[in-house]
Symmetry: D2
Subunit: 252 residues, 4 copies
Amino acid sequence: MSEMLKVAVLGAKGRIGSAAVAAITAAPDMELVAALGRNDSLELLREHGAQIVVDLTVPDSTEANVHFAVEHGIHAVVGTTGWDAERLATLSELLAQHPESGVLIAPNFALGSVLATRFAAQAARYFDSVEIVELHHPRKVDAPSGTALRTAQLIAAARTAAGVPASPDATETELDGARGASVDGIPVHSVRLAGLVAHQEVLFGSHGEALTIRHDSFNHESFMPGVLLGVRTVGTRPGLTVGLDGYLDLEG
Amino acid sequence: MSEMLKVAVLGAKGRIGSAAVAAITAAPDMELVAALGRNDSLELLREHGAQIVVDLTVPDSTEANVHFAVEHGIHAVVGTTGWDAERLATLSELLAQHPESGVLIAPNFALGSVLATRFAAQAARYFDSVEIVELHHPRKVDAPSGTALRTAQLIAAARTAAGVPASPDATETELDGARGASVDGIPVHSVRLAGLVAHQEVLFGSHGEALTIRHDSFNHESFMPGVLLGVRTVGTRPGLTVGLDGYLDLEG
Amino acid sequence: MSEMLKVAVLGAKGRIGSAAVAAITAAPDMELVAALGRNDSLELLREHGAQIVVDLTVPDSTEANVHFAVEHGIHAVVGTTGWDAERLATLSELLAQHPESGVLIAPNFALGSVLATRFAAQAARYFDSVEIVELHHPRKVDAPSGTALRTAQLIAAARTAAGVPASPDATETELDGARGASVDGIPVHSVRLAGLVAHQEVLFGSHGEALTIRHDSFNHESFMPGVLLGVRTVGTRPGLTVGLDGYLDLEG
Amino acid sequence: MSEMLKVAVLGAKGRIGSAAVAAITAAPDMELVAALGRNDSLELLREHGAQIVVDLTVPDSTEANVHFAVEHGIHAVVGTTGWDAERLATLSELLAQHPESGVLIAPNFALGSVLATRFAAQAARYFDSVEIVELHHPRKVDAPSGTALRTAQLIAAARTAAGVPASPDATETELDGARGASVDGIPVHSVRLAGLVAHQEVLFGSHGEALTIRHDSFNHESFMPGVLLGVRTVGTRPGLTVGLDGYLDLEG
């Protein structure tokens, strides 16, 4: 019989943190050994024998949390934002001194979203045209969404690398804004509609055919399968992995 | 047994005109009595006993064609553009002198498109949010499409008449163009994609629900059922009708 | 200044009832005067001066509730199921004796769903083909959904009335179930998918074009605009109205 | 400057064959050296110096055509059906004796369809639920489509290999056919609608999210980019490749 994974959650009182606590508690192969809030000591991780820590805190504290974990032989699954190039470089150096430790830094734990972005990047070079339509609730303050920006950048990079020309477009007269925002040359359209949550369509087209990859995110529950996949995998992947897709098996 | 309708086509050599010739020839209740090109005399309509004429010519000749028909007791179904307010007023005066004659001026014969526009206008007042996404082939020179402009104007008018406030939108930072073009306050997004033909989605949303009305036009065959409906109906509707929806039975 | 409508809710402790209590409380033109559970006396409606009662109870008690309201000059907006032909006939007789009273019996308060069904019924006669795809969460026990059944029946009736032949279908070899269930001759396909809530697409097609009417219901909040519309309208519509669409303004 | 590829087409009079002739003629890096019909001798391939042959014939003749090509040092790109396991085995043996020759047997040249199928197979193990909706013109005689069957089989195999349980489904009462056909446990729904051509949606769902991969095929032009990709690649891939996805670069 396989042993239970001993897991701790940092940021356990937050909206996503408390969902993670519930998901880990419910997982048959995991034991929740600590659920820490902002004023709890990291020493509790050691006292409770955590093997893996899930960091869902804030940009200000995530770096110290992860360093503590690595230094004490605890693997880390990190959903907190704020990991810029400098922080990642410092973490890589630290991991070089602790070659058995694994860290996953994942800006997005929704498997469907991670897969949609990856598929879009892979398909990008094989079509004449590509545009993105993202649709969100009307309380969102930024347009386009961060996911749409990142998807467009990955698509543009893939097309440039493959030498694909710009999408054809004969528009001569345009009402300002009709053709969307241009993100590295990829048109992105942002819809804001009461009733919706977070949705994205990447539309590809060539003569005679179209391919559409759509992701719908209805609520934060969608992060939990990705968090559990991270917890189950991080102990077998020493070193630094950025992006949950690094843990996905996409062969075949 | 009902008699066959004797139908003539003007502009019979054009792309849509030749499709109309084929559709009328195939219709079991119609007899094609004349198929005229640009150099043929309108007198041929009388010689062949046309009861109904389908005008699919050009803006320069359509007014004279329709006046000729009205003056000779021939009903007219008109798909040609160029009928501005002045021409319509003149035609109404002429029809007042020929009270038995019927004329249908229809900018769009695709039943699905006509219904989609009408439903969108009816639904407009019952939702918090509304946006339009139209998608066309990349050879299109204008954005948004004429159909999208007209749909947005009808929606905006319906919402104003019902006292509905503007759609909620908390956008603070926007990449130029992301939120689309504003047509009377309705956001319209224009996608141009190889492989596509002509498509439009009207998206309505309120707390907890969304309604989407989508029309796909794949080719000009889609105009023919509307042309035949016009031919079958025009003789029973004396006077001027603008828009095919005036002939649709939408009760119940 | 217009006076506030004095509204009571029956079944106020239920999931939808409590949402109605919240919505009425928040409405600027309504005053919630009573929120009754199953053991509360209907006499409280009179004591608190209710002008309109919203019945969101159970099939066993709704008939008595509505009769009490009608007999005491209180208008009723009813979302409870169980109103068969016999109950409706009895209620009509009672209303004939109270000609100033209005009652709305609405099986569905989601405006988008009501509109989608109505538009589908109106469009039904104008297309060669029609099919329904409904998509729900996998905990649903019946397939197709009640809404899909009703939509298919209305579509079939409209096509029969207009003399439209059956949708073309050349299928010769079919894996059992592939072509869906036949509801009065209309194919209905039921998808059950984790993550979804309640969604329906009605697909119409003719040569060269397609019309799709899609409704997405994300949660019970979607019923509240319809409940409020019912409350605001019922006092001006004496007699019995079945279906919220009877209160919608769909001219023009 | 790179030399032109000398290409011949077999089955050049057929619908797809004649489109291939046009596409190859238009390609700036290819020279069409022969366009053969059913009565033309294969010796013409040698006489005209074909380096690559595109076989778009019929199941009865494709095997002999490909063997002739391999034996004469001509690479082959094959879109004809009828290549069962036995034929493939025989061809592999022949290729072992001609190690410089390349053959691509591709049941589907539409890049979008090939990518959609591959992405669906990759995503299959990461979601609780999966169903397929395929939509075609009403003249189609089989349901489900061959593409839907193959997609369902690949999805089922991927889920079995990863130990994923069956999609949840609480259906207790079902109108016969509502839940679709079961293909290796995957529900498949077949819509037949006038106006449509060939379309497929694979729907994945888990708690809180959904991923949809949709492919639309509007006409046979969609095969041509895949045919040209095959022609450009086959000379660099000695041996037998089955499926155009073997030529796609899907890393990263």
